[in-house]
Symmetry: C2
Subunit: 353 residues, 2 copies
Amino acid sequence: MSQTPGTVTTQDDLAVVREVLAEYGEMTRAALEPYLPKWEPRRHLYDLIADYPRRGGKMMRPTLCLATARAFGARPEEALRSAVAIELLHNALLVHDDIEDGSEQRRGRPTMHEMFGVPIAINVGDTLGLLSLRPLMDNLWSVGMRLAWRIMEETERMARESAEGQALELGWREQNVTDLTEADYLSMVLKKTCWLATIHPLRVGALIGSRGGVDVDRFIRFGFFLGAVFQIRDDLLNLTGDETAYGKEVGGDILEGKRTLMLIRLLRVAAPAERARVEALLGLPRIERHVEEVAWVRERMDHHGCLDYARGIAHGLAGAAAHELDLAFEGVPASRDRRFIQSLVTWSLERAA
Amino acid sequence: MSQTPGTVTTQDDLAVVREVLAEYGEMTRAALEPYLPKWEPRRHLYDLIADYPRRGGKMMRPTLCLATARAFGARPEEALRSAVAIELLHNALLVHDDIEDGSEQRRGRPTMHEMFGVPIAINVGDTLGLLSLRPLMDNLWSVGMRLAWRIMEETERMARESAEGQALELGWREQNVTDLTEADYLSMVLKKTCWLATIHPLRVGALIGSRGGVDVDRFIRFGFFLGAVFQIRDDLLNLTGDETAYGKEVGGDILEGKRTLMLIRLLRVAAPAERARVEALLGLPRIERHVEEVAWVRERMDHHGCLDYARGIAHGLAGAAAHELDLAFEGVPASRDRRFIQSLVTWSLERAA
């Protein structure tokens, strides 16, 4: 067990993470079901909408929302619809991201557009995004109109940050940008990953727990560090993970030309001829990128220590997260939920899937 | 000037339509500008978001919302943000529809995905849809929280109907369904076109004008008939229109395999060999459909009177719309706005672009 600077996480803490993820994940799944209606047209819409959400994700996003709400004093029921909305929107974005990235697998099965084509997949993603508004409207009954409205505003902000992050990353690929820095990567991840994965669940949970009384900007820094650790780990698993547990094609990020910390590092430290070869590969249309070249890039990443380099950055960010957590949760009493959130940092750093 | 059964529309009435479209269209355009922010990233997101809305559409949807609100007693400012939201969402759906349909032109210029590729275009459409929530949130300041919330619920319903209509149409193409009836076509158009184009603007306008006091289901039938007339005319213009005025590639619907009334009719009345040839064409991937075959289908449509057949149905629907209008606007005093809405039926039936 490695140790995150600024905190000590034990095996017991990681067991709490797994336990809370299982418990709140199950609670969210049950509450989500009624929002996946069996309306017509079934075959080209409502059957497909239920597909990604039922493939079984980690449920980190809704669980973080529920845990934060409880840590701040709410009953879980009060935050449950917001948690469901987060999970639905997450799945909506996955469907569209998979098209945009040309991904072939998601949670161990073919992606939506691989199965049903791009037109139908776009519409399925649109509809999932739209369905995520329904639990937010139903929030009226759990938290009242004023707070429900506030959560709607939060959702609009978060979705906008996500779209901006996606535009940054797509722009890099479209322009074949190869002179990126870690700061560029982290700015993109802040928007594309962290707002939906961590910052928004924290903000909404705290709003519900405090009945709108807390200044939610206090969660941006902690959410950023935690989310960045989570994303870097995700990128590492794409290179080293067990495909069955991880659920995506290993090496897929390189094939898709995704600007990960490891690729950015490789472009920085590679010899000129190597760098030119990587740049040429990235400049090809996706369909012309071959697995042999992917394997070569992967080997060069190992040769130049790019994975260890990324692990080092993730470790540093985890330390910063532990520090920021104390500020963000100042005055919040100790509880299993707070312990979950604290231990989530180490879990994000070390998770195997 | 043809005469719509059940009403008489004069040249003066059509002048009112043009005048109100110009006036409310301009008002909406001005109010929409602040919702197209010049934030970063500009190049791959915010510059592109402004593109479709600034190409200049007919502005029928927001104008209908504003006119209905005024006819029911509101000041235009009270409905302006809802009108802006409608226009933004309409543009969002156009970007995604153009990808899904493989369309090449929109409002006289290349479609978003033709210019910037599918991944960026998907994200632009997503973000435009998201930005349409902002004026709905700002409705708080024009109509108060309760009515603003109600309009949000209406929007969710409308967007869901649109997505279901889109799924129906995409499903027909994906399965190469060729035994459709007029009733199938009209069910699809009710969802895909009418909810956004007419029913929703009517409902929201009336809600604002009546301060939430009116039963909005009274607008479904009128909106359906009016919207169907508008859509059939659109499909006819795709075959006969002046490309410059119309802004899309003439004959594009046939190339895209779109199930219009004219195509459905042709499949019904064609001789077996002809029918088989049309079905074979529709079964090809879009890229293998050639302009010569499109021209042949077009010629067969003329031969079998399919365009006149569709015109006849549109004429009948316009008569039904005029009848339903009197029921939907019962008790609403005469005004320029009410006259606009009434004359919109004939305008939709006869418009040249």
